[in-house]
Point group: C2
Chain length 586, copies 2
């Protein structure tokens, strides 16, 4: 038996008990006549004590030579500490060691195994097994487990069945690139790894499975960013005989349950916002509504820009302002720095206009040459500004200006501490456009995916004004992050065929790629719809972090590499030969 | 709203309520003046009624034209049935329909959607979404969900943390062939899909994660059989600071819990058997102990074969018998058929010897020419036979004879109805050999995997008698199926390096393939071990079935194809081009 107790559970009630503990040497303090060792395992830290009086000389020496991260087993008696540590759960006791066994030695770790470590990210990724010993990473993995467990519990109680769908599937292009897997048994052919179980869950609905869910890995062979892994985990759901409202209710319930169980936070009914309004008010389809700063249009129609003569405004499609509370005191230097910030290529604005609404009621702007105080006053009214506030204005082409101002809004919120990690502001965004224009291919593409149904009665509009057609599609946004999205699907073959046609698929392409789904629709497909949550992001947000990597046991870096085991690995000649055979290249 | 109730829940208490139901038309009976329709959903069947007196003529016609598997919605009143059906949960009521909406029409399904269908396996696989509508398949998927859910519940309560390990990993050959995934970001390199998360879970142990589990997909690019899918699901576990006994206790607890929760069966403490004994007594490392028929050696030493002169026995390494109770009455024809059965190439025996122990106490054998009744009597004693039993004997080379007799034993048990699906006989098989000889490569291979530790003190034996070395490895057998297996792992770099050396890896090969694990072992690896359960087989056995396919939503056929969507798919020129680029072939 390696242990009678773990390193986190002994208390004063255990005093005088003989115990066996195993774990890692966190650190030791050697005073010559006495040695204290902090012994660590997953559950906590317990202090061991060896002293001249009560410990054999040989063991004393052994204790003095224990290195950091050595794996040891001790037998000993629980005794009361003379100086207790109230910050440690086991801080009232220590173990007087009678037997010490070194189970494994350890090299000095390349970074300190402490909550605040001296190791940089690449180094910690390379030695991820050491990084996981640190509380923040260990606790993140335990937190992820808890979230997944609660999701399963909630959905199972709601009557959902977790069904495993296959990983080796047929390639059905859904936007991103598929990872492909050459087949050995069927040379010259290949499987794809699923970008999502979309078509399978729809087939389950045709199969009458009704309430399906799955926590499932998905794969996209896309360029990576800090927050995007080539493999990611999705909470995937689908329901039959439902309308949008039914789906929103279930997943609002799930999210509220998670916030309660995992974070101890009660949230009210989730607000709902139309996609068009989100774009108009926040320039963003996933607005962070933990704070205000909604966009205020300073429209020419209202005579706002009289007297005319400021060319920037005159040549702009739109002029948008945000009101930044209590920031009239920003210095010229601060404002210049903000101006530089919006002019960076990543943002791309031409400049930034400001209006200071001073505490004394006067208004002072960077465009005083063009607009007198009366005009500024009308702007301030539009923005519901009060003395002490700062108004920031961008102008230009509508979509670009919205995107730029949205970025500025988020940046200011970040700087002003308005994006509080422990505050949760969920939001449903509804009625997404069905299609979006793709400049590269000069074609409309499905914004969500080609199985999304248009709003009732809008199918005909596809021919004349495709960009205006709204979809039965919805996103759940939490603190400015899209954590889930879904739609009511098309469930009849005719509409689905029409949709593929509008999206530029020839009937042959549609048949070869999605024929199995359209065939299935002929045999009695029920109305259905669903939603998928990104588990990685959900966990990170609930955990109060910006990055998803900390919540993944073995993440990949920006090059798609598993730093620790250095995958993907090069192909050697023999493997290349075998692959070529699989691919039927020879 | 598509429904106020599902099709399985209405009872006499609901009489007079107005309800809305949606579902599929299971069948309808049209008597002209009255039409009954069975409406089906995931939850059950409810009878709808339309009659001349209370239904409009138009709706009456609509009802008369409803085809099988049409998807419909009805509004109506719950009324009491005149002739109740006590075999149906909803059999006391029916719905008098006031509104009928056809949600989707359906082609006539290619096989009947009934518990006993007229569709063959290939056809049902091709239309799996229709097959899933049938109760046996639907219930199997729900059963699988329940098993997985209970596994997670039990292990979480025991303090295990579910940690997701990556799917895109480095190829680390573990016996079977890896599926490979060319990397686009890193041309000329590739990921592999994991055959198991073995090395990752060991790294988690080095990382202090202590009690890990995961229900996870694994992949093997192997030839398929009816019961082997290229992708399969594993309950994967690992624990630190444990000995074999700790692991057996946890997973015996899990299995006992599942049998109780899922099957309502209480089982006693699991018996344990050494591998050598399993081979000796059953010729099989996964004996089905729901019935007896242990092997009885009829050894020459005991003078059993006097007088000498039966060449088959004289030239055999081993002579083994089984006693088949109450089968002395087998006719000559039945015995000839059994002889043909063991002589089939799949079994490969040269012949079968029988001894009838007649009810009257006389003994009659197929080798009466060589052995008199007194000798037969000694055999019968060895086999603990009683009058009325049949003794069957095979002879030859030890391993082959054991395998052949094991097959015969299972076949007889099958024919005699001794393999009862609702009886559960778990068994631990312990102390597997560390290595097994591979005739193809003329080398020893790790029987489990190269991370398995030898029994204490046996490492040295590797040099002199590698075949005799036992491993700290164990299998859990249920009803003659291996449902799980595992081992205590090697946890120090030196032993692991030695092991790779014995297995014929050069230090360079060991480093390039497993360097990351051996590196990790230097930084304080704890003693650890684990186990993996095959979920597919576990579910099938608990569900009382022989085949795993029925419990998988979208299984592949023996060619590794997903029949329904016909994957893998051929590579077209564009895809081949892209793949070649990925592979750096151009």
């Amino acid at each position: 038996m390696y242990r009678s107790h773990n390193c986190g559970e002994l208390r004063t009630e255990n005093i005088n008990e003989t115990v066996i503990l195993s774990g890692w040497v966190q650190k030791s303090r050697d005073k010559g006549f006495i040695v204290w060792v902090d012994l660590r395992d997953r559950y906590g830290i317990t202090q061991l004590v060896f002293d001249e009086e009560r410990t054999s000389k040989q063991m004393m020496e052994q204790a003095q030579n224990l290195g950091r991260e050595f794996v040891i087993q001790v037998k000993g008696t629980v005794i009361e500490r003379t100086s207790k540590n109230p910050n440690m759960p086991t801080g009232a006791i220590e173990i007087l060691v009678s037997e010490l066994t070194i189970l494994n030695e350890a090299l000095l770790p390349p970074f300190t195994i402490e909550d605040k470590t001296d190791g940089g990210e690449e180094l910690r990724m390379k030695y991820r097994y050491l990084d996981i010993r640190r509380n923040p990473v260990k606790n993140s993995l335990i937190f992820r487990h808890k979230v997944a467990q609660e999701v399963r519990k909630y959905l199972s109680n709601e009557g959902f069945i977790e069904v495993e769908t296959p990983y080796l599937i047929k390639s059905t292009p859904e936007g991103a690139r598929d990872f492909v897997v050459p087949s050995r048994m069927n040379a010259g052919q290949f499987y794809a790894l699923p970008q999502s179980p979309q078509t399978f869950k729809q087939l389950l609905m045709v199969g009458g499975m009704d309430k399906y869910f799955q926590i499932v890995k998905c794969f996209r062979d896309e360029d990576l960013r800090a927050d995007r892994q080539p493999e990611f985990t999705q909470i995937d759901c689908e329901m039959a005989f439902v309308e949008q409202e039914d789906i929103l209710n279930v997943f609002e319930g799930l999210t509220r349950y998670l916030l309660k169980e995992v974070n101890g936070v009660e949230v009210k009914e989730f607000p709902r916002m139309l996609y068009d309004d989100a774009m108009r008010l926040y320039g963003n389809d996933k607005p962070d509504i933990r704070f205000g700063m909604q966009f205020c249009p300073l429209s020419p129609e209202a005579g706002t820009f009289e007297p005319k003569g400021f060319p920037v405004f005159d040549n702009s499609e739109i002029v948008l302002a945000i009101n930044v509370e209590n920031c009239a005191s920003y210095t010229r230097k601060q404002l210049d720095e903000l101006t530089d910030w919006v002019k960076r290529p990543q943002i791309g604005a031409n400049g930034l206009i400001y209006v200071r609404y001073n505490e004394d009621g006067t208004l002072k702007s960077s465009v005083d040459k063009f607009f007198d105080e009366a005009v500024l006053k009308t702007w301030a009214e539009k923005c519901h500004s009060k003395p002490g506030d700062l108004i920031l204005i961008l102008a230009g082409e509508t979509n670009k200006t919205r995107t730029q101002l949205s970025a500025l809004r988020m940046e200011l919120a970040e700087r002003l501490g308005l994006r509080k990690p422990n505050e949760f502001a969920p939001l449903w965004v509804l009625d997404f456009p069905l299609l979006e224009w793709d400049e590269d291919t000069k074609r409309y593409h499905a914004m969500h995916h080609p199985f999304t149904s248009p709003k009732p009665g809008q199918l005909e509009l596809l021919k004349t004004n495709p960009g205006d057609v709204k979809a039965n599609a919805y996103d759940l946004v939490l603190n400015g992050n899209e954590i889930g999205g879904g739609s009511i699907r098309i469930h009849d073959k005719k509409t689905q065929a029409l949709m593929f046609d509008y999206l530029g698929f020839t009937p042959e392409e549609a048949k070869s790629q999605f024929g199995f789904l359209m065939d299935a629709f002929q045999y009695g497909a029920p109305p259905h719809g669903g939603l998928a949550f990104g588990l990685d992001r959900l966990v990170a947000i609930l955990g109060g972090q910006e990055t998803i990597r900390d919540f993944i046991a073995f993440p990949k870096n920006n090059n798609g590499r598993d730093v620790m085991i250095d995958a993907p690995a090069p192909i050697d000649d023999k493997q290349l030969e075998e692959l070529s055979l699989k691919l039927n290249l020879k």
